[in-house]
Structures are given as structure tokens and as C-alpha cells.
């Protein structure tokens, strides 16, 4: 039934990460601590899931410096945005009454 749902996004933590990043205007990046706060996640847990999303090419994790302080910023990539939209469309199909989607749902 959830065959169309992208397994990379299909986890509670990663779905929430993608939802948050996709809500940012195009080109904007979130610092790691701000993203962590928006998700109420632990640093370790967030890193783990970000790595999976990064490996799939859905997010871009950039390390840099603000003065002497090392900073990590995260943004959704174009591919990530598209994958998230596809995920939403697939979920939408699952939520719509079967009579209207029986063709695509297969």
C-alpha cells in the first residue's frame, strides 16, 4: 500500500526534517542548531538522519565558519524538493478515496 512512498523520506524523523526544510524559501539555509530546535531533536539523531538524506542527494549540508565558530547549515536540494513533492503526492493518493485513484494505486 505504501509502495509509492519514498523510503528515504518515509521515517518520522526524516519526514519532519524534509517538511521543515521544504518550508524555507528557495535558497535559504538553516543552521544545524536552529533545525535541531525546530525538530526538538538530539544532535546525534539529527546528524544520522541528515546523513541519510544527504547520501540520497536530498539535502545539502555545508560546513563553514562564522568568525572562529564552526557552523553547519542545511538546505533542501532541488532533487530533495522534488522527492518531497512526490512523497506528498503519493501520500495524497493514499488519502483520497480509492474510487478516484484505483488506477494509479494499483
Amino acid at each position: 500500500m505504501s509502495a509509492d512512498l519514498d523510503p528515504v523520506i518515509h521515517s518520522q524523523a526524516r519526514l519532519r526534517i524534509m517538511t521543515t526544510l521544504a518550508a524555507m524559501p528557495e535558497g535559504d539555509r538553516l543552521t544545524f542548531p536552529r533545525l535541531q530546535k525546530l525538530l526538538d531533536a538530539t544532535a546525534g539523531n539529527l546528524s544520522t538522519h541528515l546523513r541519510k538524506l544527504e547520501d540520497a542527494g536530498y539535502v545539502d549540508v555545508a560546513k563553514g565558519h562564522a568568525g572562529r565558530v564552526p557552523t553547519t547549515t542545511v538546505s533542501v536540494t532541488r532533487a530533495g524538493r522534488r522527492a518531497f513533492e512526490d512523497y506528498l503526492a503519493a501520500l495524497q493518493a493514499l488519502l483520497t478515496p480509492p474510487t478516484t485513484v484505483s488506477e494509479e494505486e494499483r
Partner: protein
């Protein structure tokens, strides 16, 4: 059905599509509440400052209350400072940890406010040195900053595609033009009621709209994309 899970993930999959949709909705609401500009707060702070402060100045100027005019002006100035602090703190909190084009845009817009109000202060100083009459100082000192606020709100509305901000700016400009025709001292009352009152109405409307956007219907699939 459960084999979609990436190996090694904790068992954290929401049980069904409805729960997934609710999860997305909740996270969107959380992100919006933390990062979106709260128009109601900013309009409310400025609207209150204008309404109370300008009405106080009008009452002092027309001797309806036993308060020296300079004191009523100081109270208005203090209310404006409070509104500016509320706006600045809110903006800094909202944009903290967000880098990129929108942060640059906000910073440029913020500097536009600083620039025009430093200029307005300089203008008032110049009028003082020219020994302008109280009526001239009152007229210029009220009309010029109000037009700057109206114009900047309209520009902000254009920059952020915010109709509500644009409409408030346009309303302030219209009220200010009306106030200029009314002239001193009643222009203060016009700006208090129409300008300040208009911002307060906008604050209430923005607040109602904001609560209307909260996910009250997590099962509604139409909200997903």
C-alpha cells in the same frame, strides 16, 4: 507493508497515511509559528503606540488633560521605542539561524527603516534650529514619519508579496493625507484614530487569520501539497 523502513531505523514510522499527514501538518505549523513574521504582534505594538500616544499629545496640546505637551511627546516617544524593540526582538528571533537571500532581504529592509528615521530626526533638529512655530513642528513632526511608515509598509508588502502589509501601508498614507488637510492640532486625533486604529484592526484581522491557518483538520488531504 512495514518493509519500507530503512534498515537500522528506529521503529518510528507513523502507523497510517492519516497520521503521516497529521505529522506533516504539525511540523509545518511548528515551523510557521517559529519562523513566520507575526504581523499581529508588530501591527498591534505600533497601532497601540500611535493610538494612545497621539491621542495623549492631542489632549495635552488642546489642554484637555493637565499634562505638559513635552511630557505627552515623551510618552509617545517611549511607546514608539517599545514598539521598535518588540519589532526588532521579534525579527531577530524569527530569523535567527536562517541564512540566505531572505535574511539579506530582511536586513536591507531593516536598514531602510533606520535610514529614514535618522533622517527624520535630523529634519526635526533642523526645524528646531530654524525656530519653527509649534504648529509647523507639530505638522511636519507628525506627517513626515507617518508617510515614511506608510511608504515602508507598502514597500514591505511589495517585497514579501504581503497584501495585508501593503493595505495597512496604503491606509496609513491615506489617513496621513487626511490628517494633513485637517491640520494642527486635530491632525493628531485623525492619526491616532484612523492610523493607530487602522493598525489595530489589521492586528486583529492578522491574528484571526493566523489562528485560522492552524491545522484544525489533520485529516484533510487537501492541505498536503
Amino acid at each position: 507493508m512495514v518493509d519500507e523502513r530503512t534498515p537500522g531505523d528506529p521503529d518510528d514510522l507513523p502507523p497510517d497515511p492519516v497520521a503521516l499527514a497529521a505529522l506533516i501538518d504539525a511540523q509545518r505549523a511548528r515551523t510557521a509559528a517559529d519562523t513566520e513574521f507575526a504581523a499581529w504582534l508588530v501591527f498591534g505594538a505600533w497601532g497601540l503606540a500611535w493610538m494612545v500616544g497621539l491621542a495623549g499629545m492631542w489632549a495635552a496640546y488642546t489642554h484637555r488633560i493637565a499634562l505638559p505637551f513635552w511630557a505627552s511627546g515623551a510618552i509617545f516617544a517611549a511607546l514608539l521605542v517599545i514598539a521598535a524593540v518588540v519589532t526588532t526582538v521579534h525579527t531577530v528571533r524569527r530569523t535567527a539561524g536562517i541564512v540566505g537571500p531572505s535574511a539579506k532581504q530582511s536586513a536591507m529592509y531593516g536598514w531602510a527603516w533606520v535610514g529614514v528615521f535618522v533622517g527624520d530626526g535630523a529634519l526635526m533638529g533642523a526645524l528646531g534650529r530654524l525656530d519653527a512655530s509649534p504648529d509647523v513642528s507639530l505638522t511636519v513632526g507628525s506627517i513626515v514619519p507617518a508617510l515614511l511608515v506608510g511608504g515602508l509598509y507598502m514597500a514591505g508588502g511589495a517585497a514579501w508579496h504581503s497584501r495585508e502589509q501593503f493595505v495597512v501601508g496604503a491606509w496609513i498614507c491615506v489617513s496621513t493625507v487626511a490628517a494633513a488637510f485637517v491640520g494642527p492640532p486635530n491632525l493628531l486625533l485623525v492619526m491616532s484614530l484612523a492610523g493607530g486604529g487602522g493598525m489595530l484592526v489589521a492586528a486583529v484581522v492578522a491574528r484571526i487569520r493566523r489562528s485560522g491557518r492552524r491545522p484544525s483538520r489533520p485529516h484533510d488531504p487537501g492541505r498536503l501539497s
